[in-house]
């Protein structure tokens, strides 16, 4: 059951001029959250923006073994994310969650390959933690514009995640899209070794990952982000077309049926 809290900002770490990590004192939401679930958030009691925005739960924060809150990884792209970027410790941020369907973790001996584009890294800290606890071999394909926008690499390394990086300007890892090294490695992989692909990032990247996965006979789970009004199924704005048994596409609400879908389910 989702909860709504006016969560106090514990800290706000600016990672760059656009990216920040906002820590919120919402322990009851954090303890319920599963990897891939999201919260609906609004910082400030204003009329513009009017609505909340969805954010993946980035980390569950613990202190002395006790859950104290959750954090959000945000990229400043509009008024809502500017409020998130500018929030100060002690401010209150309205936070509703956890919401949506989480990632389904694989079981050993399957491997997990996570594919993140930019701020799409957000749900993978929790997922990597869950996979680590299950002793799943995990790789992170992580792409960004430039090396300076690749964040938290050490955190993933500490969790035993193998990193494969790509930057559009070639300043770190492969030059170009993250799907380049992914495609290379998928094709080199023997068909007998099971791999689950998990992807979060811009929709064209998700489509490319889902298509690569099906071309290589691999399953995929993708976390989509559509323009979302309420996050709980009330407004029908965040719909995405999925395949039906009848063959015709059908719009489903990504807040309830997603945000995680099987890549093969979506009509890209």
């Amino acid at each position: 059951m989702p909860l709504d809290v006016a969560a106090e900002v514990i800290s706000n770490v600016r990672l760059s001029s656009d990216y920040n990590v906002l820590a919120l004192a919402a322990p009851d939401i954090a303890t319920r959250a599963l990897p891939g679930q999201f919260v609906m958030v609004k910082a400030g009691n204003c009329l513009e923006p009017l609505l909340r925005r969805p954010f993946s739960v980035f980390e569950v924060l613990e202190e002395n073994g006790k859950v104290v809150g959750l954090s959000l990884l945000s990229k400043r792209i509009g008024p809502s994310t500017t409020l998130i970027y500018d929030a100060k410790p002690g401010d209150r941020v309205q936070c509703l969650g956890p919401l949506g369907r989480p990632f389904v973790p694989v079981a050993a001996p399957d491997e997990a390959w996570l594919v993140a584009g930019g701020v799409g890294l957000a749900p993978f800290a929790m997922l990597a933690e869950t996979l680590r606890a299950r002793e799943i071999r995990t790789r992170l394909y992580y792409g960004a514009r430039r090396a300076a926008e690749l964040f938290y690499l050490d955190m993933f390394e500490k969790m035993g995640v193998e990193l494969v990086l790509a930057t559009e300007d070639g300043s770190r890892g492969d030059r170009g899209r993250v799907t380049l090294p992914l495609e290379r490695d998928l094709k080199a992989r023997p068909a007998s070794a099971s791999v689950m692909l998990y992807a979060c990032g811009p929709e064209p990247m998700l489509a490319a990952v889902a298509q690569l996965a099906s071309a290589c006979g691999r399953p995929s789970q993708v976390s989509v982000e559509r323009v979302m009004g309420c996050g709980v199924g009330g407004c029908y704005s965040c719909v995405i077309p999925v395949r039906t048994s009848a063959g015709t596409p059908h719009f489903v609400r990504s807040c309830l049926a997603g945000p995680v879908f099987r890549g093969s389910e979506i009509v890209w």
Partner: protein, 312 residues
């Protein structure tokens, strides 16, 4: 304070109703809100059959407003009755079923089907959705069309009949009068204002449907004025709506002449707004010594303002 209100033969627990299109089928909110604590729930507009609605993007925010063109995606009346009504009944919700048709006959058929369903409190006639090409608003934009739908549905059901009116007309009070004369038990107003938003970088409309309906605090003063105008023309109860987000906003509509109010867009921003609205209305009642909310309906005092205007 006694918060109960009467809408025709119907008595509601309080004047707060969830607005159609802004509360799903009600069941989506069952974990967050005690559905029986609301005066009523106007469920998402239903046609006879399922509909896919418009492609996304379906919403865009504007200053203090929300522009939408969902296109009435929905599960159709039969699935609604089978899949949603049992839970709504079990949770004690007062269900206002919002019905839409492309023909007069479709409204009548929907009314007949729903008349036999236990737990349906009233029928709200959607003759005002700005986002679909055929039906709906084509009835609500003319006196003749409005009267025709209301009369036909009136003859087909014993449930309270409440047409929901569009503000996209020259004189909404004459439409309200036509609805009253045709036998409506109450009127709901207003639906959204036809509007649009353009991305200047790409020169493309921000909604896939190009135009949509504007809701939210931006439209509230216009909606209040329309309720006030309709109050002068009709005797049946008015269910007022348009940008209500606080108890004070709701009271403004009630003082202007609404017997009950609907809340839509504010529920998206804050799904737990309902108890705050109830508490706010109660505390207003205490401060002003009002024993029953019904006493407050249409009590706007314009006398001083009129005198000032005459003397200036």
């Amino acid at each position: 304070m006694d918060l109960s209100v009467r809408i025709g033969s119907l008595t509601l627990k309080n004047p707060l109703i969830a607005a159609s299109g802004c509360f799903g089928y009600g069941t989506e909110y069952a974990e967050l809100v005690d559905l029986s604590s609301l005066g009523g729930i106007a469920v998402k507009g239903l046609f006879l059959n399922e509909r896919e609605g418009h492609p996304p993007p379906r919403i865009v925010e504007t200053p203090a407003g929300l522009l939408n063109a969902i296109g009435l995606q929905g599960i159709g009346v039969h699935r609604f009755i089978a899949e949603k009504m049992p839970e709504l009944r079990a949770r004690g919700a007062a269900v206002f079923v919002n019905i839409c048709g492309t023909t007069l006959q479709e409204y009548v058929e929907l009314a007949k089907i729903l008349s036999d369903v236990e737990g349906v409190a009233a029928l709200e006639l959607n003759i005002s959705c700005p986002n679909i090409k055929e039906g709906g608003i084509t009835f609500g934009c003319s006196l003749h069309g409005t009267a025709g739908v209301v009369e036909a549905v009136r003859a087909a059901t014993r449930l309270p009949v409440i047409p929901k009116l569009t503000p996209n007309v020259t004189d909404i009070s004459s439409i309200a009068k036509a609805a009253e004369d045709a036998g409506a038990d109450a009127v709901s107003l207003v639906n959204t204002f036809l509007a649009m938003a353009i991305d200047v970088e790409t020169r493309r409309p921000k909604l896939s449907n190009i135009v949509g309906g504007l809701s939210g605090p931006a439209i509230r003063p216009i909606a209040v004025r329309m309720v006030y105008e309709c109050r002068q023309r009709i005797r049946i109860p008015i269910i007022g709506m348009g940008g209500i987000a606080t108890a004070s906003d709701a009271l403004e509509f009630i003082i202007a002449g609404a017997a009950a109010v609907q809340v839509g867009t504010a529920n998206f921003a804050d799904p737990l707004v309902w108890p705050k609205l109830v508490d706010g209305i109660r505390s207003y009642g205490e401060r002003h010594g009002i024993k029953a909310i019904a006493e407050l309906v249409g009590t706007i005092d314009t006398s001083a303002r009129e005198k000032e205007w005459i003397s200036s």
